[in-house]
Subunit: 311 residues, 2 copies
């Protein structure tokens, strides 16, 4: 049985995964531990209890985390995690549980999860895009995850969409993520609302913008229209790189169903370079919301033997 | 010995390649043949004569051509070639010469040529960008050329750089190719000159813009500055996809030496997302100008066994 671990800023989840399903779950706080070693001890302890309760043997560990480098197994100075230094979490967990552990960044884990268990099954040229607080991506080419020479490929959210545009958290301007993330959509709502006479309270999440759009709020409708247009260009540009057969969207924004997807599909296909038309489809994650990150992490563990390895 | 063939709009070149060097060359007109079969007959005839003259045996054929699909071996309705239908040139040449033939698009051939014989040797995560009439590209990931699910990956020139911008030959607007190709640079020169009092005759190629820049023509200097800025963004965006270790620039525009490369390197490194800084370098082709396309085609033939194959 594979242990999947999803490291988040406040909570870290563990799951035992068998044949693409999470059969037991646990969670611990990411914060509040004396140091990274104490955190790893707590994770390992929780994992042992899970396995004992299920009468299961853990054969491999997969860990998804922000700022994780799959080539080295190290979480590199993650701004949203408690440790401001490099944490070699793959080795730390492998040492504690005595089985191989693979660490990967959360967007790459999501890509492998969709490929192995979700909407990308059987699709060896795949792009998975996570739309949430940030915009992450994982490119699968010819049945392999693209890691890049330094282990950090697949940063679609930081392709520059509008040169000289909005400030991005990366310190540059105009990145796709500055427009189509949660923060980006809220900013777009305010830009749209400032052009309009109505005075509404400020939305703080995408769901409330979607609710407003569904009741005819013109700023909310404009926000979805602009987001759709920008995301269509971003996805069409990504297709020009690796020529995927399918794109899977994942995360909170993608969950707004046909409010986003119907116009997005239309704009995406209209924006796509002619030679790709009819050759790439666009869909949403097929994994259960609560389990997607754990399944992705488990896919990392399961597929470790097939992933590129560097010294 | 490998036969490399480079199919151009007016002339097609043949070369016998041994250990990364072209040891004998020939050329025929691409136009003026009764049909595609007559053209293939003429190519095969020329190849036989070359081999006889060198006392050489051809063991494999590699062919670079515009609009070539490497997965199928077919030139697909190339707008700049005489045949407005699909031409299965790989099979046609293989039948005539009795050895395996591999067809690939010219930018992918250039990428393989640089990887095998040129500035990309030993670099398994590589991006090669051809800057000329158009902007082509070939992505090599983990030691393999990225073909994409339909055999047409690697269209960096058609990533949209400025949404709603200049009309591109592809029918859309704002593509990188509309700015940093030969046509794009001439358009940029005219835009810059229209802001300036001087009246100079129109440049018709990049060399004449470079010559003017070297003599202090302010429109020409502005043209190079703007081209540099746009190309830096386009390359930084490509890095976000596959995380290459090196980018090799190839083609007429890249040949303007330090007039382009010195400021481009500075802008590229300044534009690059922080996690890639210090991890990717930018250089120009190391292949002799006249032989680069033939060597790329030969690399296609030589590497056929290592390339992704689909049914």
């Amino acid at each position: 049985m594979i242990l999947g671990i999803d490291i988040g800023g406040t909570t870290s989840k563990l799951g035992l995964v068998q044949e693409g399903r999470v059969i037991a779950r646990a969670r611990i706080h990411t914060t509040g531990h004396a140091d990274d070693r104490a955190f790893a001890d707590a994770l390992a302890n929780e994992a042992r209890q899970l396995a004992v309760a299920q009468g299961a043997t853990i054969t491999a560990i997969g860990i998804g985390a922000p700022n994780a480098n799959q080539l080295t197994g190290i979480i590199e100075m993650a701004p949203n995690l408690p440790w401001k230094h490099d944490v070699p979490l793959a080795r730390m967990m492998s040492d504690r549980l005595g089985v191989p552990a693979t660490l990967g960044n959360d967007a790459n884990a999501a890509a492998l999860g969709e490929w192995r268990y979700g909407a990308g099954q059987g699709i060896d040229d795949l792009l998975v895009v996570t739309l949430g607080t940030g915009v992450g991506s994982g490119f699968i080419v010819n049945g392999r995850l693209v890691l890049g020479s330094a282990g950090n490929a697949g940063e679609l959210g930081h392709m520059i969409l509008l040169p000289g545009g909005r400030a991005c958290t990366c310190g540059r301007n105009g990145c796709l993520e500055a427009y189509v993330s949660i923060r980006g959509m809220i900013a777009t709502y305010h830009e749209a609302a400032s052009d309009m006479p109505q005075a509404a309270s400020s939305p703080t999440d995408v769901k409330s913008i979607a609710d407003r759009a569904n009741t005819g709020d013109t700023a909310a409708i404009a926000c979805f229209q602009r987001t759709t247009e920008w995301l269509a260009i971003g996805l069409a540009n990504a297709v020009c790189a690796t020529g995927p057969k399918r794109i899977v969207l994942f995360g909170g924004i993608a969950r707004n169903g046909e409010l986003l997807m119907a116009p997005l599909r239309e704009r995406f296909h209209a924006t796509l370079l002619n030679i790709y038309q009819g050759r790439v489809d666009l869909t949403v994650s097929a994994l259960p919301d609560d389990d997607a990150a754990l399944l992705g992490a488990a896919a990392l563990g399961e597929l470790a033997a097939y992933l590129p390895q560097r010294s």
